[in-house]
Symmetry: C2
Subunit: 343 residues, 2 copies
DNA sequence: ATTTGCATTGCAACCGATTGCATTAAATTT
DNA sequence: AAATTTAATGCAATCGGTTGCAATGCAAAT
């Protein structure tokens, strides 16, 4: 273990005060530019590196943003994280990432860790079964901005970045109806989460608006896992009045369901049209290709970080929360395009 | 912004010294157990939270592990990260994650950030075009352990976690040969990276061992992107002596290639058998399902963290580097199973 | 020549927890 | 009862930057 070079070492060698060294290295305006050059050259030469802790301790900020996501290993989330990382990195912030594994308990524990690590800001996409808000309240009390993304919680003091899930759900459903579907099933996740309740809402709006009937049997709440996809296919095959269209709130689940339906002999889209959500790579591999909703994960991550940093820098007042709605896009592919549409 | 509670506040109220408070909270053996109870109760009551920076500054350690990956948004990487996060979390460590986007330059800059953040240990999977080792050298000089995973660099002072790529490449190729393939193409990535050079080596070994001919035309170095998949399909269709099997070192690329080949009228596996690598979800969606090599991302992440922490805790001496080889598994599916094998 | 103003730099007190060493009180031994 | 351990706590220095305020020097203004 080598000894670290400190600003005191530099100061001693150059016979100036540590304060000047500190200011010079931080490009403080009161320092003569020649002195700055001299100091930074020496610092470089001596292999100096700033001690973040000493700095953080004194400045009371960490230059670190916390992120809590349900799962790291989903196509969408990794896109979000990639965007966050890129944007944070460009602004000189670090990212502290943890996953709740869809458990409220772990989310609370993660939040506590982030809190103790004194992150400057927190970004979270909440777990399936999160009910309370208490673990975020601490941050707000201390003036640490909290921003939700994708799975957001509506709170007057928290910003949010999401898509218009109601609209997306509405568009998907309208599309299915325009393709001739009259009995559409909707497979969704925990309705506590805005993403799922919103899409359901959009689904219901579209169904009603087109004069179709809402049928409780046609709304299936699952965990949207691949197993759930198989389960849904099985359930459909056992139904008396089978649906002619399905809207599944997750591509991986939708694809598994399609595979199972195909195995049971259903023709897609003729017997049953299918639409997913997320534009996961698998949607372009399944035959026929899966109609889905694209929404920009990478961009969502970038926007979230940018918004949070604006708050931190005071560009945006901290007590003004904003909700940013990103555009989503229905991508129509073979799984929902009935060739002969008869009205 | 509320005022933070410090050990001094607790000390003042209880009329004891801050030193005792500090020791009590850290469960120091020299402190009376009744005093401990008293102090921690008071700390809890006052909403005390330890200031990590003050502590880090004094203790000269951060409880943080750095991770540098080529890309966050790949199925494999997110599995690795999920594993790392879980294991680190359980051991009380935080994760600082950044991506190089396959650029050596960004990797170097990321390494510098990690270095300045004084991570206790570093885990890295190197970028496509990384040539130098210098940016890791700094860590080693300071006694910070560096561990490579998946895309590893062989260095006497660094540990590594990976699979046996030579063996995996050998198994894939032998399998294709056993299915009757006699002219096998291998599509791979930058050969500077062990994962690709290893698999190529295994490929070559298998080809030679079975008395087949090595043909330079049949080894294609690409970036393994989806575009590369299309490109390969095009190239095959233009070849005079076309291959009857392809081994592509990445599932997403392989799947795109398969799709393109199917569009061109090739029958898979009968005209051309295809094998990928990684067991990405798409491999089970493409028709026919893609034969591939599974290797445990989540587990790789867990093992990496555990190994690093063992080094840190001194369980494992820091100057003893180890290379852990995880088992990979060939998963045979339809894309490479020629029904009638004729010898 | 004296005053005023500005540009630089230094002093010294923080930030909050940790820890070697000293101290005190209580328990044990002789 | 005196001497010696042992247990428990306190003192004060330390980790390395940061920053309000004071001090210095020199040029411009009066």
């Amino acid at each position: 273990m080598e000894k670290e070079v400190t600003i005191y070492d530099i100061a001693k060698i150059l016979e100036i005060s540590p304060a000047t060294v500190s200011r010079a290295l931080n490009d403080h305006p009161a320092i003569n530019s020649k002195t700055k050059v001299l100091i930074s050259a020496k610092a470089m030469e001596m292999g100096y590196r700033s001690n973040t802790f000493a700095s953080n301790l004194r400045r009371r900020s960490t230059n670190t943003l916390g992120v809590i996501v349900p799962r790291l290993n989903s196509h969408f989330m990794s896109a979000v994280l990639a965007g966050m990382e890129q944007e944070a990195n460009e602004s000189g912030y670090n990212l502290l990432i943890s996953q709740s594994l869809e458990s409220a308990k772990k989310e609370i524990s993660n939040a506590k860790t982030m809190f103790n690590s004194r992150v400057d800001g927190l970004m979270a996409s909440v777990a399936y079964d999160t009910e309370t808000f208490e673990h975020f309240e601490n941050f707000i009390k201390k003036g640490v901005p909290v921003l939700f993304f994708d799975r957001i919680i509506d709170h007057p003091k928290c910003s949010g970045v999401a898509i218009d899930n109601v609209l997306a759900g509405y568009e998907v459903t309208s599309h299915l109806i325009s393709q001739g579907c009259r009995r559409i099933m909707h497979v969704t996740g925990n309705l506590k989460r805005n993403v799922y309740s919103g899409r359901l809402k959009g689904f219901q709006n579209a169904v009603l608006e087109h004069g179709l009937k809402l049928d409780d049997d046609l709304v299936v709440v699952t965990d949207l896992s691949q197993e759930a996809g198989k389960f849904v296919a099985q359930r459909i095959s056992e139904m008396e009045f089978q649906p002619d269209g399905i809207f599944i709130s997750n591509d991986l689940c939708a694809v598994t369901c399609m595979k199972a339906l195909k195995e049971k002999g259903y023709l897609i889209p003729d017997d049953i049209a299918v639409v997913g959500f997320n534009n996961d790579p698998v949607s372009q591999v399944i035959e026929p290709n899966l109609t889905t909703v694209y929404y920009p994960g990478q961009q969502m991550g970038e926007v979230a970080v940018r918004s949070l940093i604006n708050h931190l820098k005071g560009t945006q007042p901290i007590d003004v929360s904003e909700t940013i709605i990103l555009r989503s896009e229905l991508i129509i592919r073979g799984s929902s395009t009935k060739m002969a549409v008869s009205y």
